[in-house]
């Protein structure tokens, strides 16, 4: 019973980590950079959707769509102002710049939205249903489906379509890609927009299970990055799989050893896992042809 409860809870949590971590995969695949403000992007999606749907009473699909579009715009801004200027000068300062943008956004939301956590109502998170004697909200079942569908879509997009192949070519050799007529800066900007939209989707899906507040993304962002690295940041399937593994192991550790040890054991396990598999679960070692 304890173990079943842990596995069911872990699957739900894990797919949320995976969903957020896919955002890291996307930008890394195209530009070898990541947006460390993914946690804030997730929070932004939830807060904007809350403002449109709950505060202003918009038609929910319209409110959610608008929130996601704004998340995309935010991703474009992150890339344009916190990543591109540094990458152009061969500097790694984008690492700090994206962290700083996240802190900035968290604080702006704190001042405008307020610190008080608010509930995001959803018909899918009202009454728990029982699966193998463990209660879950229907929304917890929707999240893995959305996560796996997005991972599948990304896989197909990057491996089977011309546009996807063009995106991957950018990371291999930007100059050659440019010579082949690929819009390199457009591709990188698009990858940031897609990654923040994914984070926004994660935020909107998680909000009804959790609550909406300005620091809801902080811990999630850190765990999602751990998941992205663990999965091998170059594989969409790997990232999603690592999310599920992380979620389940986390819940099992809590159930078996107690919550006092959860964070210690989890992050120690990540170090061990990466020492054994430096490229993550499904990642491939980068081959640089010169």
């Amino acid at each position: 019973m304890l173990i079943t409860a842990a596995i069911v809870t872990g699957l739900g949590l894990g797919s949320m980590y995976g969903l957020l971590a896919l955002g890291f995969y996307i930008t890394y695949s195209v530009s070898s950079t990541v947006n460390f403000s993914q946690g804030s992007s997730m929070m932004l999606g939830a807060v904007l959707a809350y403002a449109f749907v709950v505060t202003w009473g918009w038609y929910p699909p319209l409110g959610i769509l608008t929130a996601l579009v704004l998340c995309g715009v935010y991703g474009l801004a992150v890339e344009r102002f916190a990543v591109r200027p540094f990458v152009r000068r061969d500097s790694n300062a984008w690492l700090m710049a994206t962290v700083a943008v996240g802190i900035l956004v968290d604080n702006i939301v704190l001042f405008t939205f307020g610190k008080e956590p608010r509930r995001f109502p959803s018909p899918l998170a009202d009454m728990p249903v029982s699966i193998a004697d463990v209660g879950v909200y229907p929304l917890q079942l929707v999240i893995p489906v959305v996560g796996l569908a997005l991972a599948a879509a990304l896989h197909v997009l990057s491996r089977r379509t011309k546009y996807g192949k063009a995106l991957l070519a950018v990371v291999q050799n930007p100059d050659a890609a440019r010579l082949m007529g690929i819009n390199v800066s457009g591709a990188i900007a698009a990858s940031f927009a897609i990654s923040t939209i994914f984070a926004g989707i994660a935020g909107i899906l998680i909000a009804p299970l959790f609550n909406v507040n300005s620091d809801m993304g902080t811990l999630f962002g850190i765990k999602a990055f751990a998941v992205a690295i663990l999965g091998g940041i170059t594989s969409a399937w790997g990232v999603m799989l690592a999310g599920l593994v992380f979620g389940i192991v986390e819940a099992l550790v809590t159930v078996l050893f107690g919550s006092v040890y959860t964070q210690i054991v989890m992050f120690a396990l990540i170090i061990v896992a990466l020492a054994l598999m430096p490229n993550g679960l499904l990642g491939r070692a980068g081959v640089k042809k010169v």
């Binding site: 409860a5 209660g135 902080t218 159930v255």
Partner: protein, 392 residues
């Protein structure tokens, strides 16, 4: 003098006059009370509640002719933004520049702990109105200038154990505590209280401030046979505990510290929020004492947004602050001066005060600087969005 400089001088003088006109009409003989609390940010509502409680008390005292032979009290406020260093700077400014006769503290234990050494070294009485950290008053200083009219963690923990035994016949309680210094302090307090009652516990589980799902922790406590849960956490994470209990369909009594009172608990936790019984020092609901009716009336007259007892939230902030100000005024009156050392002695001379929280009898002694005791707590629950005392 050129025309320009004389114009500038004139403007300067005009501005100075305007500033003087705007400044509160503080007279040299006025007695200053200084409040250092969160007036902005996450705890702004708490700061506002404390301000209102102090204001109403000060106005009542002034209307009756003030203290020390007709001297009026003025209230000065400084925002600590829940930040200990900002609180310390504000407290120093109030003591050294404004020469306040007494300082009042806010909601945050870390801010109060930062001010305690300053109050003791500057010999200025520091009255806690909210923060419950045990070491604020039990700070080891001799002489100790820190007093409090609020809950105290270690006493709350004793009250939680007592309540769970009396109302739920608890034999094997489980603790579910937020993973921060507040949770840590209550873990020690609850363990001590259980030991004192010769009781064992099912287990201790921790959760993060923004934990999404607490089912694994609760499953462990359930498997260890917990018959009551002791909850310590702010409103958001406390709501996650209630939602996780709902998911598990585990109907276990939950006895809690006052975290749920800090926000929209029912909105966040859903209808099961009412199952959580938590501690408060005062409630404006129910049969009020004559003093309670009088203060409620004053509050509603002064603040039009208070239309009834349900609007006075958080009630503990208002009530603690009101009684704090009255007790400080009594201490100054008993001291016959605003000299810090004499006022400290004055606190011990207060024999009785018919207050809002209770009829205080000898509220402070050199050994006890906490005026609120385990028997004074009110047990409450959320019904819709109002904190209502539980009737047994």
């Amino acid at each position: 003098m050129t025309l320009q400089t004389s114009r500038r001088a004139l403007l300067g003088a005009g501005a100075a006059v305007a500033l003087l006109a705007m400044a509160p009409a503080a007279q040299a003989q006025d007695i200053k009370f200084g409040l250092v609390a969160a007036l902005s940010g996450q705890s702004a509502r708490a700061g506002e509640a404390i301000t209102r409680g102090l204001t109403v008390a000060v106005e009542e005292i002034n209307a009756k002719g003030g203290i020390l032979g007709g001297r009026k009290i003025v209230l000065l406020r400084r925002d600590d933004e829940s930040n200990p260093s900002k609180g310390l700077i504000a407290a120093r400014e109030l003591i050294q520049r404004e020469k306040v006769a007494a300082l009042f503290g806010g909601l945050d234990t870390p801010v109060s702990l930062a001010i305690v050494p300053l109050a003791n070294s500057e010999k200025v009485p520091f009255m806690g109105t909210w923060a419950a950290g045990t070491p604020i008053t039990k700070n080891g200083a001799n002489p100790n200038f820190v007093f409090r009219v609020s809950a105290v963690d270690e006493i709350v923990d004793q009250a939680i154990v007592k309540y769970s035994v009396r109302h739920y016949s608890a034999k094997n309680p489980g603790m579910i505590l937020v993973n921060n210094p507040w949770g840590e302090s209550n873990e020690q307090g609850l363990k001590a209280a259980l030991t004192a009652s010769n009781m064992k516990y099912a287990g201790i589980e921790k959760f993060e401030g923004n934990e999404l799902d607490v089912v694994p922790q609760l499953s462990r406590l359930k498997a260890s046979g917990a018959d009551v849960l002791y909850l310590v956490g702010n409103v958001g994470p406390s709501a996650q505990v209630v939602k996780s209990l709902d998911k598990m369909a585990w109907k276990v009594p939950v006895v809690s510290h006052w975290g749920p009172a800090g926000g929209r608990f029912t909105e966040l936790a859903g209808p099961s929020a009412a199952n959580v019984h938590f501690v408060q020092t005062y409630s404006f609901f129910g049969d009020l004492s004559p003093k309670g009716k009088q203060v409620l009336d004053m509050l509603m007259k002064k603040y039009p947004d208070y239309k009834g007892p349900g609007d006075i939230t958080p009630a503990v902030g208002v009530a603690n602050a009101y009684d704090s100000a009255q007790l400080v005024a009594l201490a100054i009156q008993a001291a016959g001066s605003t000299d810090g050392d004499k006022v400290r002695e004055g606190f011990y001379k207060i024999e009785s005060y018919d207050g809002l929280i209770k009829k205080f009898a000898k509220p402070f002694t050199p050994q006890n600087h906490d005026a609120v005791t385990a028997d004074d707590y009110v047990w409450t629950q959320f019904i819709n969005d109002q904190i209502i005392p539980i009737k047994h």
